[in-house]
């Protein structure tokens, strides 16, 4: 009796192991074989993405919703040159180990044509060696780190999309140099690659000028509140507050500054500038005079309520991703990035990965949901930064008002 039981167990284990076997697919090395590249046929293109659907960064999952909506929208109109786009996305919980596994799965098993808009600096660093070795495009990564464009020779298959944090911080530096040349700046920053990139970019951009950083405090995403950091900053002799944070903490910082009666020029970074996610929770009355930057159209702003491209966006989102919140700026981000992807696909001379990269490195397109005057442009092999322009905006009344002209901040 016992023996039978054990043998049964043995056989079950063996059977399960073999059943879990997907394919006997030993061809480990991705694409590039004879015939076409994987992931692209006459009828379809398969793209792969890795996003944080769970975990501490789950608020960014709406980026994927925006992107999926755009691809569905394009598919409904016949796709790209008759090819429908299939965007396969996997959850990585914002963990590098999962991102690596997702990349392997997408490239090896799903046989995607390209990786698109993978999210998170650490995650993208974790997979870029692998993607580049497999010669799979890793395009329009969803992070503003400057590294994607810094060393193209080492990672030619990788490229970012959004104006990177160095660009952004130099825009703030320029604004201060012009408007408040002797500014003494207190900085709150998130203690990770994003925060440090912005902080260091700002410091570099203000070197040699009379704009100085006089205090800096960091916070962790695992901190419950940033009120003590803001309190410390308020105690310094700064007359400008540079707030480098993500939505929840940006809102906390605005409220904390207000409660302390710390009324200085308050600059908040783009990621935390959303009216929906940050200013409304904090209280619009506390947001008056806030300065930030923008590069795409704010879905919560009445300035764009008659704008054709934003209407198109909201309609498509309601139709294809009904669970998404149309005022969430992350959705517009995803939509705009996906728009760029489609333009790049349209610019391919052949259905190969190399052709995609050639197209990506020679882009000159206007994306309707980006602000007028901001275009996506790469000029050849050595240009790693598709978008290098932003515009200053100031919060007045109930909305952001764009100020001045689009500022080009090329590297």
């Amino acid at each position: 009796m016992k023996r039978t039981l054990w043998l049964a167990l043995l056989l079950t284990v063996a059977a399960l192991t073999f059943a879990a076997c997907g394919r006997d697919d030993d061809d480990g090395d991705g694409g590039g074989g004879g015939g076409g590249d994987p992931g692209i046929t006459d009828e379809s293109i398969k793209l792969g993405g890795s996003y944080p659907f769970s975990g501490p960064a789950s608020a960014y999952r709406s980026i994927e919703q925006g992107a999926q909506a755009y691809f569905s929208f394009v598919n409904a109109k016949g796709g790209v040159d008759g090819r429908k786009i299939d965007f396969v996305t996997l959850d990585d919980g914002y963990e590098p180990a999962k991102a690596v596994q997702n990349a392997r799965r997408l490239i090896q098993e799903e046989q995607v044509f390209a990786l698109f808009n993978t999210l998170g600096t650490a995650n993208n660093v974790a997979i870029w060696d692998y993607a580049n070795k497999q010669e799979v495009p890793q395009v329009f990564v969803a992070t503003g780190a400057s590294l994607w464009g810094a060393d193209i020779a080492a990672h030619p298959w990788t490229i970012g999309w959004q104006p990177d944090y160095v660009t952004e911080s130099s825009v703030y530096a320029d604004y201060l140099k012009k408007e408040k040349p002797n500014a003494k700046v207190a900085v709150l920053y998130q203690n990770d690659a994003f925060g440090e990139d912005l902080l260091n970019g700002f410091k570099d951009a203000t070197k040699g000028s009379s704009v100085r950083v006089v205090a800096e405090e960091s916070y962790e995403v695992t901190d419950p509140t940033v009120s003590s950091q803001v309190s410390k900053l308020a105690d310094s002799d700064a007359d400008t507050f540079l707030n480098i944070s993500t939505p929840k903490f940006g809102a906390q910082a605005i409220v904390a500054a207000d409660k302390l009666g710390w009324k200085v020029l308050h600059i908040i970074n783009n990621v935390a500038a959303s009216k929906l996610l940050v200013l409304e929770p904090a209280g619009l009355d506390k947001a008056q005079g806030l300065i930030s930057t923008a590069y795409f159209k704010d879905p919560a702003s009445p300035d764009w309520s008659d704008d054709a491209s934003m209407k198109e966006f909201k309609d498509a989102l309601a139709k294809y991703e009904p669970r998404a919140n149309p005022e969430d700026p992350n959705c517009v981000y995803g939509w705009a990035a996906a728009s760029t992807m489609v333009k790049a696909l349209e610019g391919m001379k052949e259905p190969t990965r190399q052709a995609l990269m050639d197209s990506v490195r020679n882009l000159d397109v206007e994306i309707p949901t980006l602000l007028p005057g901001i275009d996506v442009k790469t000029s050849g092999e050595q240009d790693g930064y598709p978008i290098e322009a932003m515009q200053i905006q100031r919060f007045e009344g109930e909305n952001w008002k764009l100020l001045g002209e689009v500022i080009q901040a090329p590297h």
Partner: protein, 339 residues
């Protein structure tokens, strides 16, 4: 006894399957199984501490991180050959575990859990704080081992087999240790400290050594992790990891060597399946499966044969009875005072 022979046959079967894996599956799956082995080694360490010795640690991920960064830094900054990083990480973590184990002697159950919880939470911060060394949030890319030409293996296959060899050694060592007199002392401490000390077991020495050993296992696991992924970053070592190890040993079966492997399979594969079913409800499914698993198999997967045996034979096997008291005393402290 037929029981023993069947058990040996089972182990041989599993070992055979394990060796065949890289030749049956593509690189993605092989990569997953490599991670399973790595988690199993770390989980085994935790099992020594929690299952066999009755202490508690919610901060196992911290030692795993220490091992990983040790390995990463040795390879990248000191050009140490990758095989040497395994014992190095193990040794360093043994020392760290010992240092931690000494003050831990003073804390029982719940409070030890809390302090180790704090350690787990502080780990990413500490890594970032020492960013001159660790490269902080950017993470450290590490060159991975490549398969030597004469083996004819692909890189991922080589990596898997290397990990398998290391894991097999660790597993054998633990199994052997727990079977012998040391293991008996360790278990005696768990089952009743006062009784154990009356028969001459040195409580303090045993507990700190087990802590150190468990940390060493985590460290070796961490070093293997670096080889498998080629990348370390603070985000990889959050509280979630420590919880995953704890879940692994409970799901797998406390105080069993095989439990570590079964638990590792669980924590690697179930979340992936959960997100395949519905990526919006991953956590709901995973959490639900975890709860359901505990409902059906409170002793973990390794207890399944016993359970089946119970069902079939219709009576309680003697080993089952004494396993149940385990860990009640230290964690569920009964406050004295007003009755």
């Amino acid at each position: 006894m037929t029981d023993r022979r069947v058990r040996i046959a089972l182990v041989c079967a599993v070992a055979l399957v394990a060796v065949l894996i890289p030749f049956l599956f593509g690189p993605y799956r092989v990569g997953q199984f490599t991670l399973v082995l790595i988690y199993a080694v770390a989980a085994l360490g935790l099992n020594l501490l929690v299952g066999y010795n009755g202490q508690i640690s919610l901060g196992h991920g911290a030692f795993f991180a220490l091992g990983a960064y040790t390995g990463a830094l040795l390879i990248e900054k000191a050009d140490v050959p990758y095989l040497a990083t395994l014992p190095a990480a193990g040794a360093l973590c043994f020392a760290a575990g010992y240092l931690f184990g000494v003050p831990a002697l003073r804390l029982r159950g719940l409070y030890l859990a809390l302090v180790t919880l704090g350690l787990a939470i502080a780990t990413p911060q500490l890594i970032k704080r020492f960013d001159d060394l660790t490269e902080g949030t950017q993470g450290l890319t590490v060159e991975q081992p490549t398969a030597p030409g004469w083996t004819g293996l692909a890189d991922d296959q080589f990596l898997y087999l290397l990990t398998l060899a290391a894991a097999a050694i660790m597993f054998l060592a633990a199994w052997n240790l727990m079977r012998g007199p040391i293991g008996r002392s360790v278990k005696a401490v768990r089952d009743g400290e006062i009784a154990a000390s009356t028969i001459g077991v040195d409580l303090a020495a045993t507990k700190t050594r087990v802590f150190a050993l468990s940390a060493a296992y985590a460290g070796v696991g961490g070093a293997l992790y670096v080889l498998a992924l080629g990348f370390v970053a603070p985000e990889a070592f959050t509280l979630t990891l420590s919880f995953a190890f704890l879940a692994a040993i409970v799901v797998g079966g406390l105080a069993t060597v095989s439990g570590a492997l079964l638990g590792a399979l669980f924590i690697e594969f179930v979340p992936v399946y959960a997100s395949d079913v519905n990526d919006a409800l991953t956590g709901v499914i995973y959490g639900g499966v975890l709860i359901a698993f505990m409902w059906v198999l409170p002793e973990g997967a390794a207890g399944l044969p016993r359970r089946l045996r119970e069902l079939v034979l219709g009576r309680r096997h003697p080993e089952v009875a004494d396993r149940e008291d385990h860990l009640k005393a230290p964690v569920r402290g009964v406050p004295a005072g007003k009755a």
